[in-house]
Symmetry: none
Subunit: 225 residues, 4 copies
Amino acid sequence: MPEKLSRRERDRLRQRQEILAAALELFAQRGYHRISMQEIAEKAEFAIGTLYKFFRNKEELYKALVLEQCDHFEAELLQALTGAGDEIAKLRAYVQVKVAWCQRNLPFVRLFLAESRGASFNLKASLEDDLRQRYYAFMENLAQVFAQGFSSGRLRRIAPPYFLAVALDSVIDASLLLWLDAPERHPYPDDPDAILGLFFHGLLASQDRAGAGGQQLPGERVYEK
Amino acid sequence: MPEKLSRRERDRLRQRQEILAAALELFAQRGYHRISMQEIAEKAEFAIGTLYKFFRNKEELYKALVLEQCDHFEAELLQALTGAGDEIAKLRAYVQVKVAWCQRNLPFVRLFLAESRGASFNLKASLEDDLRQRYYAFMENLAQVFAQGFSSGRLRRIAPPYFLAVALDSVIDASLLLWLDAPERHPYPDDPDAILGLFFHGLLASQDRAGAGGQQLPGERVYEK
Amino acid sequence: MPEKLSRRERDRLRQRQEILAAALELFAQRGYHRISMQEIAEKAEFAIGTLYKFFRNKEELYKALVLEQCDHFEAELLQALTGAGDEIAKLRAYVQVKVAWCQRNLPFVRLFLAESRGASFNLKASLEDDLRQRYYAFMENLAQVFAQGFSSGRLRRIAPPYFLAVALDSVIDASLLLWLDAPERHPYPDDPDAILGLFFHGLLASQDRAGAGGQQLPGERVYEK
Amino acid sequence: MPEKLSRRERDRLRQRQEILAAALELFAQRGYHRISMQEIAEKAEFAIGTLYKFFRNKEELYKALVLEQCDHFEAELLQALTGAGDEIAKLRAYVQVKVAWCQRNLPFVRLFLAESRGASFNLKASLEDDLRQRYYAFMENLAQVFAQGFSSGRLRRIAPPYFLAVALDSVIDASLLLWLDAPERHPYPDDPDAILGLFFHGLLASQDRAGAGGQQLPGERVYEK
DNA sequence: GATGAATGAGGTTTCATTCAT
DNA sequence: AATGAATGAAACCTCATTCAT
């Protein structure tokens, strides 16, 4: 049981967090290559040498920063996916938690997107690969919810579960970015059903669609222009 | 209006393209900050000084590179959207053209994702903002197709056109990345209907869904596990 | 004069020796500039601060190390020179003791050679000068033996005593280094007569050499190729 | 034949020499670790970056410095050994040339001694080993002269040729250092016979020495003091 | 007009030393 | 008295940019 830390150890941990917090803020603002260890040290109010007591070099500092945030992020998302309710409730919870976490951790979100998606400016293939692996591994969890929905009959098999997972996730990201860049254009990233609706309801108003003929389905909203 | 260029001008333009081509290859491989002007000059077989005749500095070179590629990309995508056929055909064409272009221009795609999405490693807010503006502006074109689909009754109003546009586009991106990183997991980014199906068909198998009751709809595929 | 030391003082002295021993080993292995106080502290199992209680700074530690070893070395050599026997016995004893001591203290020997001979990597002119002074001063003792040999008629005046001293000493050093670097090429640094023979017997086989004509002299060995 | 260099190439070579000359002076004065690239650049009147155009890093600069001087040194010494005259003349020439060269290249001599003899402060085992190898290889040339002297009967076999070579060389070094440090004590390093005399004439005044009985031999000087 | 040698600011990192605990 | 975390000066090295040829 729960690791009683000495005051010394607690102090060190707190300092470490302070450094990481300062670094996160700076990196998110201006990017890895435009931030010097000097600047991080100043913002964190330590001497440069102290930074090197905690992290072997700039890259390790950066990696620690990213990986630790990912740990927290993943833990919260996993909770949403393993919470109570049917598959639909879980998807709602997932969207909600992801959006909420991202809004609370905007600086990190930018870093993460850069590292997990982007490619050209990153530090080292190693971190990028790590993150990608983690990302795709985590998507399995989301895919499982879709698979369970298929089994339970609550969801229709319109695409493979894994692809659905990645697609849903990417739409959440896009939704977040849209809101971030132009809140007036897309004011509802925190409305899970606005996002899930894309998948829940069919876009096609085909004559073939049994009986519905482009009509509004129950539970569906209609968006004007 | 045919802009007859002198031989001199044509030569210069060709040289410029050679430089940009060399730079693209290098940047895409190792990233902006890990490529020196020296290296670009060597690969392009020009003197460093010559690079500065064409571009004021490294950043301008980079911007030119990105913006020109975007021009080509947008032009092709716009053609797809303004081609023949109804809205559904246009969406299919869009997906097809986007996927094909990306597969043909993989190096650039990575740069673009980094610049348009990510944030932490990029060069300068200015380019990022430029690209974002262009991106959101271009999305209007795609949104129009959805809007027309609403008007024509071929598409159902399950979300605002603009949001549908951004969502579709982000799913295409995710699909491409998935295929890029793990082709065995998602082997069909070039099958437009595998992507569009997500939006065309409703995921929800609600009892309320008029008459359909979780049945497969015509034109729909069923995916196992 | 018995210098009764308190336990406290004895403890301090012992700790000091432990530090110096750790430092000697490290310096000899990797050189003064490649060893940090941190490393010395760790090897000696003291805190860094403690090192500074004993030595004002890194350089003082180093100087103390070298000078104390020199003290021991000189003491032993002096004993050899002031022992029983005629001058020839004393020279033999000198060679023997020097070779034996060096073989027992190889790590230090390298440090010493660097400091007393070399110049480019050393710490400070001050130590270098100190050592040089001591060295030349000590050579007086060896020179005395030669001078006595001259007086007693046991040795011939083929060179000034002081020069003979320095020359003999340098041949011992060379002999040691040769053995150190390539034992198969020079397997006898611990055979005093192999070294002394160079001086004892004339190399010249001059016709003029009274009566001997290049013949082997009594007590002389002949070396092939 | 004789490599016509373009003006460009000659300029570069001259600059390189200027850098090396500045570095040599500084290194010899204060030691490798106490000289910064900044200082070398200033003394050579170049920018730091320029130094790095010529030498990959500080260590390479240092190695180039040492190895090139060695090349010149060896070339001159080899000439002395392959010149006209019998073995005795060659030994004389060797001593003379070595002493003269060292006197002309004092700064380098200190570096060389540090690298070839010393051990603890040096840069890298690699250079040290290189130099040691070269040194021992070169000693073969000197050993050959002794071997030829044995064959011709001009020299007596008082020690193996290789050992004689190393011993003679080390006595020259000691002689030089002695003169360097205390010219009043040993004013004649450039008198080859003062050095060679140590080996040419036997020190031992043994009764056994055929007929000579400690008497002065022809060609021998007598030193008082 | 093209060249590429030269520049030097600025980055990361090390490590001797101090001093509060 | 002993500790070792914190300090920050100073080292090496890179590379965007300039400008004389």
